[in-house]
């Protein structure tokens, strides 16, 4: 099916936002459109935006669930700022999303939902489609519910099931507008609802009805097309940050030969990692859903002692609960990866909103001198490589690693080039050999300073470890003053030496630009988009985006030294900048911070950078 009646306009990139009541199936609608986008060969990134309540009051602004997709023929780094197209299934979703759409955007509405009751429930005084407030937009107001009922009239379907499929009518309209084929989506229905042929038929009929309706109506006489992106040769898939994180660990497990153990307790937005790993028993993954956050990490420490690649996954409040146990892993010098999918805090904070505010907790949130390696993933697909590298560093250096991702990366998805496991860098944990007469629990490798890993069941290596201070080399309990100082230095130095095993800090752009933009973790997509855009406009600007936080790359100081002005941008109240001021106090750091549970917008960063450049 392709459109015949309209002229086709080519676009470089498009942002579409699907919004509806949290029970309207907008996440599914969005993900089906994503699949079709992949099939069309575009690069894309997506982000779901849903309330923390599972079913907030129907028809209210707080109950609106959204899904945004940004696709293009060039590399797409972010889910996009403002939308070109908004699908709003009720007045509340229109109200909630007006601030997220461009001037002149296309708005597709279900006219049947714009009745007095719905309008008032959404908090409007008057029907916004009638009072002229939408005159600056291209409005498609269609009786979606009525037409959906009409489309399945021939099927013996109850009203509830009928109305459940109205999201497919909206999807049909969008598919038409963007010249998409319906075959793939129909195939999805056939697979997904195999057990219920009636539902397959209904969804197919409604999708086609939406598509044909749009064709017949010839909205604006125009449809749109985005040419395929110039992606490198290879095999691709769409992946969310949480799935990529889970898979990165599984790949590290296979490559290191160490079975994967996860001890975890459900917490938004980290839960999907636990769920995903629970699904892969065929790859010998042991995923243990513990009774609490503490048991999650502590069981992982037990598994680590027993020779597993052990990980625990959580979000901010859970990381607080795990602090004492991280100290145990520091003291026992066992490999352990702690994933913190950051969300808005403090306390319960904003569970479904993203923030970068756990950095200082990750760096310093433990009793005693307790250094750990810290890595921050920079995109959804990079979560795979970050989890892999966190595992490698933890296993090879025998020390805990905190991997910071965030809600944006975790739930957002992007195109992922599928790697071959054999091409990933090898992982070689320092296993002690059976009956080694020289084995001592705290004897260290002279280069990395790691101790050896002696696994229960191995002959001739019986030993005890624990949270009490250890005597150098022997590992016996020791309260000796000088030994404690020495061991503190050794644990610190061991982590610092990891700088010899991570890449140098990369800079995008002119090595002598007027302004160096510094960022870290999940903001990479928007930072690189803005910096590249400004570079193309001839601005003297460069970007240093940090993935390695502890230790910092060895050349960090040299990089900073080359620039006149440095601005540190973070989704928090200035945590990385504090750390940089502490580590390299000789530089002056400007800062740009946003603490609204929202990502940076391109325009706001551009304004900030221009202001600094013009000063």
């Amino acid at each position: 099916m392709t459109s015949k009646n309209s002229k086709v306009v080519e676009l470089e990139q498009v942002v579409i936002r699907f919004a509806g009541d949290s029970g309207d199936g907008m996440q599914l609608t969005g993900s089906l459109f994503s699949d079709s986008t992949a099939f069309a060969g575009n690069d894309f990134a997506t982000f779901p935006d849903y309330p923390s309540e599972i079913r907030a009051p129907q028809g209210t602004v707080s109950g609106v669930s959204g899904f945004q997709i940004h696709f293009g023929q060039k590399t797409v780094h972010t889910p996009g700022d403002l939308a070109d197209v908004l699908v709003a299934m009720n007045p509340a979703s229109l109200k909630a999303n007006m601030r997220w759409i461009k001037e002149g955007a296309i708005i597709i509405l279900d006219a049947d939902a714009f009745i007095e009751k719905g309008v008032i429930k959404a908090g409007y005084l008057e029907d916004p489609t009638l009072d002229g407030s939408l005159s600056g937009f291209k409005l498609i107001k269609s009786p979606i519910s009525t037409l959906t009922k009409e489309a399945v009239k021939h099927l013996d379907l109850d009203m509830k099931s009928t109305l459940k499929s109205k999201n497919m009518f909206a999807l049909g309209i969008i598919m038409y507008l963007f010249n998409r084929e319906l075959d793939m989506t129909n195939l999805y229905f056939e697979r997904k609802f195999k057990a219920n042929p009636l539902v397959v038929e209904a969804n197919k009929a409604v999708l086609a009805a939406g598509f044909n309706y749009a064709d017949t109506m010839e909205f604006f006489g125009t449809t749109y097309k985005v040419e395929p992106a110039f992606l490198k040769k290879g095999k691709y898939r769409n992946i969310t940050g949480n799935i990529a994180t889970a898979w990165g660990f599984m790949a590290a497990s296979e490559r290191s030969g160490r079975p994967l153990f996860l001890g975890s307790y459900p917490i938004t937005p980290a839960t999907e990692i636990l769920q995903e790993l629970t699904n892969h028993k065929s790859l010998s993954v042991k995923a243990f859903q513990a009774e609490d956050e503490i048991a999650g990490i502590v069981s992982s420490i037990g598994a680590s002692y027993t020779g597993a690649l052990a990980i625990t996954t959580t979000s901010g409040p859970g990381l607080s609960l795990k602090s004492e146990a991280i100290g145990l892993a520091v003291m026992t010098e066992l490999p352990l990866v702690i994933v913190d999918v950051q969300r808005g805090g403090p306390s319960t904070g904003l569970p479904t909103k993203s923030e970068q505010s756990d950095l200082l907790q990750a760096l310093f949130g433990r009793n005693g001198e307790a250094p750990v390696i810290i890595i921050a993933a920079k995109s959804s697909s990079d979560c795979f490589y970050s989890a892999y590298e966190a595992s490698k560093l933890s296993l090879e250096h025998m020390t805990p690693v905190i991997l910071l991702t965030d809600g944006m990366l975790a739930n957002g998805s992007e195109v992922f080039k599928i790697p071959k496991v054999a091409d990933l860098s090898p992982i070689t944990p320092p296993l002690a050999e059976a009956n080694d007469p020289l084995y001592k629990p705290y004897r260290r490798d002279p280069e990395k300073l790691n101790r050896q890993w002696a696994i229960p069941g191995t002959h001739g290596l019986r030993h005890r470890i624990g949270g009490l201070e250890k005597e150098d080399v022997s590992g016996n309990v020791s309260h000796d003053p000088l030994n404690h100082q020495k061991m503190t230095f050794l644990r610190e130095e061991k982590v610092q030496r990891v700088a010899n095993y991570i890449p140098e800090q990369e800079v995008f752009g002119n090595p002598n630009a007027d302004l160096l933009v510094v960022s870290w973790g999940g903001t990479f997509g928007v930072m690189i988009t803005v910096v590249e855009k400004m570079q193309q406009q001839g601005q003297s600007i460069a970007l240093a985006h940090f993935k390695h936080i502890m230790p910092l790359p060895k050349n960090t100081e040299d990089v900073f030294d080359r620039y006149k002005k440095i601005v540190v941008c973070e989704i928090n109240n200035g945590q990385f900048v504090k750390y940089l001021r502490m580590s390299y106090p000789q530089f002056k750091y400007y800062q740009h911070n946003k603490i609204q549970g929202l990502p940076f917008m391109i325009a706001e960063l551009e304004a900030k950078f221009n202001e600094l450049l013009n000063q």
Partner: protein, 344 residues
């Protein structure tokens, strides 16, 4: 009952194989010494290679135990030994995992892990040293301290109701509960052997004396003058008889236990309740566990021992099943599964 097969023919070990070179630093006269000796006598006789033992603990006097055993071991953090044990056992179900804990460690700060490890029925042996006091922090009341006891944090006597660990075990659907006492090495050895043989979470409460902060906490049960009246050794298939003259017995009257005297009011030995440690219904086991002086003697020995699937075995079974039935055999299979597309 089908239990773990003990093959001492294959593995011949002695007590010396398990003695560590570390100086034992418990107070002289502490009940922990006797428990350590009993364990040293049990380990060589379990048919388990010495490399396959892992002893884990939390924090407290008892939790220093792993340092004194020449096995693999972890001395972890307060209350968390059950979670450590869970990770160790799930990572390698072939290991013989022994968890050492105290009444503060398992009944207070680690209460959550204690009930959940039991609920899941992880195959470990959990030795609970109950001295009814916080010893390492020098004498504050614990969740098992009897009501009214004066301690450093209850100068007028506690007004909290104490836990009875056996009730918690049964409340958490435990399948194995035994009680023993530090003054009786022989009884300890027997109970530890039984615990080791049982597959599942085997909880053994050891009434243990702290000579410094709760000395004589178990005096009624242990003193020469009163112990016969306050100790009841339960044995499967045998009537619950006690007393210096072996003339007292326990009967079930209505929904309660009662003490009767054989030879009085027409009571004969055949009226006495016969212990059945294998009974799945935990009702009588709960009642026996609850018996406490001065109203009742305390029940010692294996009170409950019921066979059930263990958590570690269930997890291994589900992994084996998935390995057999899933088309995903390698990480490359997974990466290339589902919806993918190729750019040439």
């Amino acid at each position: 009952m089908e239990n773990q097969i003990i093959d001492t023919e294959r593995i011949q070990l002695t007590k010396e194989d398990f003695s560590s070179d570390q100086m034992v630093k418990w107070c002289p006269g502490c009940g922990d010494h006797a428990i350590l000796h009993a364990i040293e006598n049990v380990f060589p006789n379990l048919g388990v290679a010495k490399e396959d033992f892992v002893v884990v603990s939390g924090i407290g006097c008892s939790s220093r135990f792993p340092y004194y055993m020449n096995t693999y071991g972890i001395h972890s953090i307060h209350g968390r030994a059950a979670a450590i044990a869970t990770g160790v056992k799930l990572a390698n179900p072939n290991l013989s995992v022994w968890m050492i804990s105290g009444d503060g460690d398992s009944m207070a700060i680690g209460g959550n892990h204690f009930i959940h490890v039991i609920r899941r029925n992880l195959d470990i042996n959990l030795l609970l040293f109950n001295n009814k006091i916080y010893g390492l922090t020098k004498g504050q009341f614990s969740p098992t301290t009897p009501k009214g006891t004066k301690t450093k944090t209850s100068p007028q006597g506690t007004f909290e109701r104490p836990f009875n660990p056996g009730e918690l075990v049964i409340g958490a659907q435990g399948n194995f509960f035994a009680r023993t006492i530090d003054t009786n090495p022989k009884a300890m050895t027997v109970v530890f052997m039984e615990a080791a043989k049982h597959k599942g979470t085997s909880v053994v409460e050891i009434l243990q004396n702290c000579v410094i902060f709760s000395n004589k906490a178990h005096e009624l049960i242990t003193s020469r003058e009163t112990r016969d009246e306050y100790q009841l050794f339960v044995e499967h298939g045998k009537p619950m008889i006690f007393g210096a003259k072996k003339d007292k017995g326990i009967v079930l009257k209505g929904t309660k236990l009662e003490i009767v005297t054989i030879g009085e009011n027409g009571i004969t030995e055949s009226d006495i309740l016969v212990h059945d440690q294998y009974e799945k219904d935990s009702g009588v086991h709960a009642m026996i566990s609850s018996m406490m002086p001065p109203e009742f003697p305390v029940a010692l020995g294996v009170i409950r021992s019921v066979k059930a699937e263990t958590f570690d075995q269930a997890m291994m079974n589900s992994i084996e099943f998935a390995k057999e039935h899933s088309p995903i055999k390698t990480m490359d299979d997974l990466l290339n599964s589902g919806s993918t597309w190729t750019i040439d």
